[in-house]
């Protein structure tokens, strides 16, 4: 998604001169054009993320809209108090962009992963987290973020195209309304590609409702998801994020709050580092049961 993100920004920053871009010393082979285009509105704040967020809030208080960019864990965990106190308390238009959320940085190791980012941030006041799954919903997330003028976190991950049978909506995307569906699947982040692969050729594909949820916190259960759960009474949630604070726990909470009756609920989520072993993004997905084969197995277990 990074190159699409940069291309989008190159356009937006030309139209809106109030936008400032601050990087925590990252962007090689992706942000060079943006830097050239923005001139003195492109700032490299060095390897100093806490100051980057404080400076961003200070600049935002003077009428700017400020993007803070780094690798996801660095721009979330290192400067959490600056995000909470300086950005969120004051409802500042500071847009935090974390590259490679989830296990995106693979063999770079746990320091470079962000599998608790959404849970960490989405409870902060005024904060909106955007977790697009595909290139298509990334654009609508970016549109919404720049229109929000409020604290935002944008998780950039793998950028593949959305399959034709999904349609964008306000919460992300979904498959067409299907009265014959017997299973509701709610998925967040580009791990959705594994779901799409698992369903491809699966005998039960026509009996599944798919919902891509790309914004957190999930304050309410979207009506189309609620309607699907009422019909199917069976739910799978899939996310490249730990169970606590993720979309699975949010859906589970909302199902109870809406008094929906369900017969079966499975949450597929990041399980950290079983055995303290490290590898590629797909290796970690596999250890967490987020790979195509396991997703397929879980789906089949419902029928």
């Amino acid at each position: 998604m990074r190159k699409h993100f940069a291309a989008y920004l190159e356009k937006v920053v030309t139209e809106n001169e109030k936008i400032i871009f601050i990087t925590g010393d990252l962007g090689y082979n992706a942000l060079e054009n943006l830097a050239a285009k923005m001139g003195d509105r492109f700032i490299n704040a060095g390897v100093a993320e806490q100051n980057m967020l404080g400076v961003a809030a200070g600049m935002a208080s003077q009428g700017y809209e400020v993007i803070c960019y780094s690798i996801a864990p660095f721009v979330v965990y290192r400067c959490l108090e600056q995000i909470r106190n300086d950005v969120c308390f004051h409802n500042m238009p500071v847009y935090i962009v974390g590259n490679g959320g989830g296990y995106g940085y693979g063999i770079m190791g746990a320091s470079h992963h962000a599998i608790e980012d959404i849970g960490t941030l989405s409870g902060l006041p005024n904060m909106r987290c955007y977790v697009p799954a595909f290139i298509e919903d990334m654009k609508s997330c970016l549109d919404e973020m720049f229109a929000s003028k409020g604290p935002s976190y944008f998780r950039l991950g793998l950028g593949k195209n959305m399959p034709d049978y999904l349609m964008l909506n306000n919460n992300g995307a979904s498959s067409p309304v299907n009265a014959l569906a017997e299973l509701t699947i709610i998925v967040q982040s580009p791990v959705a590609n594994n779901l799409i692969a698992a369903l491809n050729g699966n005998a039960h594909q026509s009996k599944v409702d798919i919902f891509i949820v790309n914004k957190m916190p999930l304050a309410n259960l979207p009506s189309d998801i609620a309607a699907s759960i009422k019909r199917t009474k069976k739910v799978i949630t899939i996310e490249e994020h730990v169970a606590i604070g993720g979309v699975g726990s949010a859906v589970s909470f909302l199902v109870h709050e809406h008094s929906l009756v369900i017969n079966k609920f499975v949450s597929l989520h990041a399980k950290g580092y079983p055995g303290e072993l490290y590898g590629s993004q797909s290796y970690h997905q596999q250890l967490s049961g987020l790979d195509k084969e396991n997703i397929s197995k879980i789906i089949n277990s419902y029928f």
């Binding site: 704040a45 404080g54 809030a57 200070g58 600049m59 208080s61 600056q82 106190n85």
Partner: protein
């Protein structure tokens, strides 16, 4: 004004039965030097948020905070908690209380002013203990690299911090040598001498040399009340009736009210 505002700080804390008196008496003269003599468009952040009572009294003096609101200090449903809150007063652009936030914020404000080609100043008041925080050094280097000579830091240097003397805990992290070597223009001043501080501030304002500014204001914690002066415990303690009356009498005898 120094005596009058001290009496008001004492009254505020006595009524609220609250601590943080020593910290406010340490920096009230600095606040007068900055806020009473600032220009339109200047911004100020109290990074040492625990001295909020001094800020509230100063803003009350400047008619930014009305008397009836001041009376709610420390009470339930107040907009004036022990550390400044967010989004309530134009003169308090940022909530503070956790140390090490004000300098990055003020640095960002100074950077924005430069980009907008505005001539106003970004002021921030830190405590000396606060300069232990790593963000101080991230922001300081950023300010130097970005040539923010419109950033003026005051450090309230009273030599005491949360649980001991600054010299014994992390050493002198507000040493003028360290700050000058990074690239700041640094000056020392008596932090209770308003005329001296105004002189130094004027010199700093005229010095458009690309260097961010640091005014080290040497102060006494609890200044004006002998039983509080240089005593760490007056970071925390409230006054009883007897101590309050004694403190008021001292201010009446030592300051022009």
């Amino acid at each position: 004004m120094q005596g009058k505002l001290r009496s008001k700080i004492l009254e505020l804390h006595f009524k609220a039965n609250s601590g943080h008196i020593g910290c406010s008496l340490s920096c009230i003269d600095i606040l007068i030097s900055i806020l009473k003599y600032s220009e339109p468009g200047d911004t100020f952040i109290l990074s040492k948020g625990h001295a909020a009572s001094a800020l509230y009294i100063m803003l009350n003096e400047l008619r930014e905070i009305p008397d009836d609101v001041l009376d709610t200090f420390y009470k339930n449903a107040t907009t004036l908690p022990a550390h400044p809150a967010a989004l309530k007063y134009n003169a308090i652009p940022f909530a503070t209380g956790s140390l090490g936030h004000g300098l990055p914020l003020a640095t960002g404000i100074a950077k924005a002013k430069k980009l907008k080609k505005e001539n106003s100043i970004s002021y921030v008041l830190m405590s000396d203990g606060e300069t232990n925080e790593g963000t101080t050094w991230e922001a300081a280097n950023f300010a130097v690299r970005n040539k923010l000579d419109n950033l003026i830091i005051f450090i309230d240097k009273n030599g005491l911090q949360g649980f001991g003397n600054t010299a014994d805990i992390m050493g002198d992290t507000s040493s003028p040598k360290v700050w000058s070597s990074i690239g700041f223009e640094v000056m020392d001043v008596n932090g209770h001498d308003i005329n001296a501080m105004l002189d130094i501030k004027q010199k700093m304002l005229l010095s458009k040399n690309g260097k961010p500014k640091l005014i080290i204001a040497n102060t006494v914690k609890g200044k004006g009340i002998p039983y509080m002066e240089n005593k760490m415990e007056w970071h925390y303690l409230p006054m009883d009736e007897k101590l309050y009356q004694e403190a008021l009498a001292q201010i009446k005898s030592d300051y022009i009210l």
